[in-house]
């Protein structure tokens, strides 16, 4: 079987298009590349959707944590504490079994116990908590002079937030937020190892990589392939976030701009 044929068969296998059965014997390199690459669709889906929704909740949480209202502040702090203080892996398990237990209550929860929505919600809340903390830190370090200048121009309330506070906060938070984005994409690999079933073997990249490693008993091929895919994904994220970073910093003299550096971060 030629490689093009394999790509035709398995290229979209992870979303259920193409060959139904996974290869069982005589695994070729092409099959491993194709299937693991196909699994990346899920990682990208989880990462992109969770990040883009999480961004807004994160802003809200950061504002909430900086709020003067005690109730709002405390609830934001608790939200951040719960999601940052516990392992994502346990959060997945808890959410999955929680949705399972709620299933008899309403048919709505039936959808939640499948990975595409249930895991997405956990990832969304999780990234909102982590980025909320980052944004809060940035919000605290918005220069006082900027706010005074805004007052002097007669800006207040929503216009001040939208035109001064928020862009400055984003600018300061961006390097850390880039790291958070990279690690969100990496933690999407946990989804199919934490209770959420891979329906009809439609899994993510790591799911297929471990499938091959189990079948061939040879970890030296599938995991480096997976690593290669993730390094490429990371580079793409860095370049996209770098472009945004450039736009956020465009008003600054070039020597004061923060450059995006890829720094060590953490798993959760």
């Amino acid at each position: 079987m030629s490689c093009t044929q394999t790509i035709m068969d398995y290229g979209l296998r992870s979303v259920g298009i193409g060959e139904r059965l996974l290869p069982r014997t005589d695994f070729t390199l092409c099959q491993q590349f194709t299937l693991i690459g196909s699994g990346m669709i899920w990682n990208i889906y989880f990462g992109v959707v969770a990040l883009s929704f999480g961004f807004f909740l994160a802003t809200a949480v950061a504002m909430g944590k900086a709020s003067h209202n005690r109730l709002i502040r405390k609830s934001s702090e608790w939200f951040i504490f719960v999601f940052r203080g516990s392992p994502l892996f346990i959060q997945f398990f808890f959410a999955y079994f929680c949705f399972l237990a709620l299933k008899p209550v309403a048919p709505f929860f039936d959808v939640l116990s499948s990975a595409w929505l249930g895991a997405l919600i956990v990832l969304f809340l999780n990234t909102a908590a982590y980025s909320g903390e980052i944004f809060y830190g940035a919000l605290q370090s918005v220069p006082k002079g900027d706010m005074e200048a805004a007052d002097a121009y007669g800006l207040s309330g929503w216009p001040r937030f939208r035109r001064i506070t928020w862009p400055t906060m984003l600018r300061l938070a961006w390097p850390a937020y880039t790291n958070e984005a990279i690690f969100l994409f990496q933690s999407t690999t946990l989804v199919f190892f934490s209770g959420f079933p891979a329906w009809q073997q439609r899994g993510d990249a790591l799911y297929y990589a471990s499938y091959f490693a189990d079948k061939t008993f040879n970890p030296f091929v599938p995991y480096p392939i997976l690593a290669g895919y993730f390094i490429m994904l990371t580079l793409v994220i860095i370049s996209i976030f770098g472009l945004i970073n450039r736009r956020l910093n465009r008003h600054l003299p070039s020597d004061r701009r923060q450059r995006l550096k890829m720094r060590m971060n953490v798993i959760r």
Binding site: F81, F89, I90, F93, L100, A227, M262, I267
Partner: protein
Amino acid sequence: MFDCTDPSQLSGLSWLMCYLTTGKHLSLYISVGTVLLLLAITAPTALLFGFGGASAARSRIPPLRWIGKGYIAVVRGVPDIAFFLFFVIALDQAFEWLRHKWKCPDWSEPIRQGSDFIVCAEAKLPLGTAPQWVHETYGFFVAVLTFAIVFGAFAANVLYGAMRAVPRAQIETAEAYGLSPRQTFWRILVPQMWVFALPGLSNLWMVLIKATPLLFLLGIEDIVYWARELGSAKTPRFTDYPHGDWRMWYFLALLIFYLAFTRVSEIVLDRIMGRLTRGQATLAGEAQRKAAA
């Protein structure tokens, strides 16, 4: 305290007390000990790996420097759960392969036959005849080594940054006093780098705590395993304590356990940081001085 001989007669709190002290639940509590043991062994080992990696990355010998930098760089950008899954098999096979070369030099067949990995019987790890606890200890050992390798790379990155954060003037002064590079490293650089390393290392400690449930993926019977096992629905046929699907509650308990653990760590680490910044010429140290005055 409670008479647990006939659970079907019990109800309410006494039933719960008896339920929570069955043999299997004791295994759950022991596995909490396993997690703590893992942390206690992994943290120093990873620090050691990290120190080695960071020193190698600063070395003046190019190949050593490349190895150090490569070690630090390789964990970035790749999900570490992939490393966990990779290293567990890879380490196991590496050990068996080395023992195979050593114990059975006159073995002619190839080791990889299709999808099988075959070594001679004497090289198997642990030996097929070994008792159960040896198998479990070996699995735990491989898991600890995996954790140490992955977190060692993180620690290496933190320590490498901390070494570079030590003021240049300190090194130059040491050179002016005629200390050799080795003496400068051990007497000037290493004692001073810890203050700079502590924020990164405490962050790493939190991450390490939150990575412990991944033991489950390495095939260890840890708290996640027992929570799934004990929480699933039980019928009266197989147990004296029948109940429905309680996995949600077990994982809620784990969630709270981890929250408490990270919170306590946070408080302790803040104390240590406060102690270390006392008298330091940093913003935090200055703030402490002002608060005291």
